[in-house]
């Protein structure tokens, strides 16, 4: 007899509008339906933006998401520059690129660590976060803060990168490269990880297109789209790099895309540091004319999209933000259904919905629900599965 149970997961998470409360309906071990309720971290940023002046908005959008805290300002200044048609000096373009790419490295490392944690490889978590500190230190040196960098400005950047920091950044990139080599070896050659992640949570190319999935989530399904190449901003058209795609669309492919993309980012940062010439960093525009503008930038999770409508005053008439996870979330319907509950955590984590979204799976008791699993239980189930597979394949216990 089939016996259906609903498992609530959530709601405590973060991210702009998308902290979510998952309800998995399961039949035995298999997930038959998923429902997502978001809005727990809805802060009304679009309405708040209408009451702020344009230069304050950059700081506001910086606080949409802590991990993409330079992609949102990037898209925001692009939108405002689209309204006014301001030219940005070369050096500023390179600095923007460097900050964006450093952010991508730190975000991808963070994801690798958390994915390791969900799978029961806590060592991976600790190692990945240890190497992430290198990037945080570089940020602290060149921007003054570990997160929320405050670098973007309409018409340029706020701070210059002093020459004395260049050797340090170069050395940091080499250290990151060594760490990436280690992770690449650990992920791509590990038979247990391959068995655990290959063929799990497949997002087909047709679904990726129909859901308009973005970033690594879609590129792992073979959709060759990347805003950095499709609509070049900053200095992306002046350096050599490749768009990474994979065909399979499963969790493994998403991990591979993120690791290989980090290599490209390291290479972009190095090229920018070499090509950067001395010069002004800011064209200092005075006001924004009437009109509307669109800015989009490739965040670590996918494209962020900003639309601004100005009526000639110093605050916008309408400000619209679309974060990448807003498009990536609905793909759960395509990927989770039909999988087992122990795989649900890693599939949900695979789109990188800002890590602590999935971290924070605390449960709120609901009277009418029979079974309640905490986020901890879910992670434990996932870790146990890895342990069983490890034992079966190697004959040893996982440390």
């Amino acid at each position: 007899m089939s016996h259906k149970v609903t498992i609530p997961i959530g709601p405590y998470h973060s991210l702009q509008e998308e902290p979510e409360f998952y309800q998995l309906t399961v039949d035995g071990e298999t997930v038959t339906d998923i429902d997502v309720r978001i809005g727990y971290v809805h802060r009304g940023i679009e309405k708040v933006a209408e009451s702020k002046s344009f230069d304050k908005i950059i700081f506001l959008v910086e606080r949409i998401c802590g991990i993409c805290s330079t992609s949102h300002p990037m898209a925001s200044v692009l939108a405002m520059e689209d309204v006014s048609g301001v030219e940005v000096p070369d050096r500023a373009q390179y600095i923007r690129t460097i900050v964006c790419e450093l952010e991508r490295i730190h975000s991808h490392l963070l994801w690798i660590g958390l994915a390791g944690h969900f799978l029961g490889y806590n060592t991976v978590w600790m190692w990945a976060w240890k190497y992430r500190e290198i990037v945080c230190d570089i940020f602290e040196a060149i921007t003054g803060n570990r997160q929320n960098y405050g670098m973007m400005k309409i018409g340029g950047v706020r701070r210059d990168i002093e020459d004395e920091y260049l050797p340090g950044i170069m050395k940091g990139m080499d250290d990151v490269l060594r760490a990436l080599d280690m992770f690449k070896g650990a992920v791509l050659d590990d038979p247990v990880l391959a068995a655990r992640l290959k063929g799990v949570g497949i997002l087909s190319k047709a679904d990726a297109l129909s859901y308009s999935a973005l970033g690594p989530t879609s590129r792992a399904s073979g959709v060759d789209k990347d805003v950095r190449r499709d609509d070049p901003y900053a200095a992306y058209d002046r350096v050599k790099w490749n768009v990474i795609t994979q065909k399979d669309g499963d969790v493994f492919a998403k991990a591979v895309v993120r690791i290989l993309e980090s290599y490209e980012s390291v290479s972009i940062v190095k090229q920018c540091l070499q090509k950067m010439q001395k010069g002004p960093i800011d064209s200092d525009p005075k006001e924004l004319p009437e009109g509307e503008g669109i800015g989009h930038a490739e965040a670590p999770r996918g494209e962020v999209f900003h639309y601004v409508k100005s009526d000639g005053t110093n605050s916008p008439e309408r400000y619209k933000v679309r974060a990448p996870t807003f498009m990536n979330f609905p793909t759960f319907k395509a990927t989770v259904i039909g999988e087992t509950i122990s795989d649900a955590t890693i599939i949900l984590a695979a789109i990188d919905p800002c890590y602590c979204c999935t971290e924070r799976m605390t449960v709120v008791n609901r009277k009418d629900k029979k079974t309640i699993l905490t986020g901890e239980d879910m992670i434990k189930m996932s870790q146990d599965k890895t342990r069983r597979m490890y034992k079966r394949m190697t004959g040893k216990e996982l440390a």
Partner: protein, 140 residues
């Protein structure tokens, strides 16, 4: 000092409650656990369930949807339980004050013992804040 308080101070278990934050404070809290800062050497442990917690680390503005949930999570925590507001949002609603989605500030929803300002506060600041709190409790 009651025996419960003594046990709490020996090894405070921390539950991280984020409601309406931008993730930054949350990363920094998790960062405290990783090799560079490693707060576990002070006996602090991040736990997954509020029912095991001695300290609640709250981040973010509390929005209208989350208000009742935050209250309920606090009620579920075993007492004595101390609450730490991490970051400017939890302390003062920061840049979101006046937004339609944001309700009461955190300290009107649940009692707050310590405020750690910063956007986001550095891991060092978070550790310092929690240590200061413990010292204060020790003195009574």
């Amino acid at each position: 000092m009651s025996i419960k308080m003594k046990a709490l101070l020996k090894s405070p278990w921390v539950f991280h409650l984020c409601s309406g934050s931008c993730n930054n404070c949350d990363i920094e809290i998790l960062d405290c656990l990783t090799p560079r800062y490693d707060i576990e050497r002070f006996g602090m442990l991040l736990v997954g369930s509020v029912r095991h917690a001695d300290v609640l680390l709250c981040t973010g503005v509390v929005n209208k949807l989350g208000e009742s949930r935050v209250k309920r999570v606090y009620q579920q925590a075993p007492k004595p339980c101390v609450v730490v507001a991490v970051g400017n949002c939890a302390a003062s609603q920061h840049i979101y004050r006046g937004s339609y989605a944001v309700g009461k500030p955190l300290d009107e929803v649940i009692p707050v013992d310590v405020y750690i300002p910063g956007c986001p506060p550095k891991p060092e600041a978070i550790i310092l804040g929690v240590v200061k709190l413990l010292e204060k409790l020790k003195k009574g």
